[in-house]
């Protein structure tokens, strides 16, 4: 009796994966438009979507270039953002069991969304279905949408009039939003943002963002320690047993 149930679950997984694919792929439109508005050609935007294929990294490269930063510091930011895909790969390797050419091809599809949909099914045998359905649908649509968005960005002309410069920080906010799920991450984000702004007047564009990686390195160190209330804290009277007086 487990076969029809499994089929239903697999069908639902395909439907969910395609839904993620459409929603994420469509965002490629904004990437294409923003990339062209930032001074890239339509072809450069398309090559980024084909070969980098990781939204946050692509937006970062384009954002740093748009802000007048050296393209290679944009590349450094993009690569730093890509490190999380390595961690996804660790989780996926034992679920996908890929070797040779198939592994080389599947690697390009390792992104936030395909990982999430591979880890979603209760039966680990369904992981490849979630991974490839999501990864391939995002890949096809993201690249098509990048091309269309790039053409639209070219047609628009003066981009500040249309607020495309405001679309860039909004895109980054939308990318970081679901990650701010703990106070540790919220503090890390706030300190990183503050540090980057403090560095803007004194460093070359692009460097303030890379410097923010240092905040992550420090915050990751501190996660392991137990945070004890400070003994000098006036608010801690209740904890220290003085309430009995």
């Amino acid at each position: 009796m487990s076969v029809p149930r499994l089929t239903l679950e697999r069908r639902q997984l395909v439907v969910d994966s395609l839904g993620v694919g459409v929603a994420t792929g469509a965002s490629g439109f904004s990437f294409g438009a923003i990339a062209v508005a930032s001074g890239l050609t339509v072809w450069q935007a398309c090559v980024l979507s084909l070969l980098v294929f990781s939204g946050a990294s692509q937006f970062a490269l384009v954002g740093v270039v748009a802000a007048g930063g050296a393209p290679l510091s944009g590349a450094a930011t993009a690569i730093l953002l890509g490190t999380r895909n390595t961690l996804y790969g660790f989780k996926l390797a034992s679920l996908l069991h890929l070797g040779g050419v198939r592994r080389l091809a599947a690697a390009q599809l390792v992104i936030d969304e395909s990982t999430a949909m591979a880890l979603k099914p209760k039966d680990p045998r369904d992981a490849p279905l979630g991974f490839f359905t999501t990864g391939l649908s995002v890949f096809v649509l993201w690249n098509l949408a990048t091309f269309v968005g790039g053409l639209a960005g070219n047609a628009i002309g003066d981009t500040a009039t249309y607020g495309l410069d405001a679309a860039v920080p909004a895109a980054f906010l939308a990318l970081v939003w679901p990650r701010l799920d703990s106070s540790r991450k919220q503090v890390t984000g706030a300190v990183a943002a503050g540090l980057a702004l403090a560095l803007v007047p004194n460093t070359r564009p692009g460097l303030p963002v890379i410097a923010a990686a240092g905040v992550a390195a420090l915050a990751a160190l501190r996660v392991g320690r137990r945070d004890r209330p400070s003994p000098t804290d006036d608010e801690s009277t209740q904890v220290s047993g003085e309430t009995g007086r």
Binding site: A56, L72, P169, A170
Partner: protein
């Protein structure tokens, strides 16, 4: 220079993906590395939000982008999809520039 950056990013990002699928889990599965990979996107993306919204070149500025960002935050709280958030921010900034 942009092409060089594109090639470097593409090679780097692909190798990072491939490494994850290829290297045995335990080699890099150190708690610190795990936490770091979790926090790097938070730090970099937050810094990018701030720099992209409040600076022009090497100058700190506040302009119509702030209103766009504020509306993006509202849209995100309402669980709006990515494309809606981005378009809402752009439209807000464009509208303010049209009026002011």
């Amino acid at each position: 220079m942009i092409w060089a950056a594109i090639v470097v990013s593409a090679a780097g990002c692909y190798l990072l993906k491939l490494t994850g699928l290829s290297v045995p889990d335990r080699v890099l599965d150190v708690p610190y590395v795990r936490r770091l990979t979790d926090l790097i996107p938070v730090a970099l993306l937050s810094a990018l939000v701030a720099v992209q919204a409040f600076s022009t070149g090497q100058h700190l500025t506040v302009d119509a982008r702030l209103a766009g960002l504020a509306l993006a935050a509202v849209a995100l709280m309402a669980k709006a999809p990515f494309l809606v958030v981005v378009i809402a921010a752009a439209a807000t900034a464009a509208l303010i520039r049209l009026v002011v």
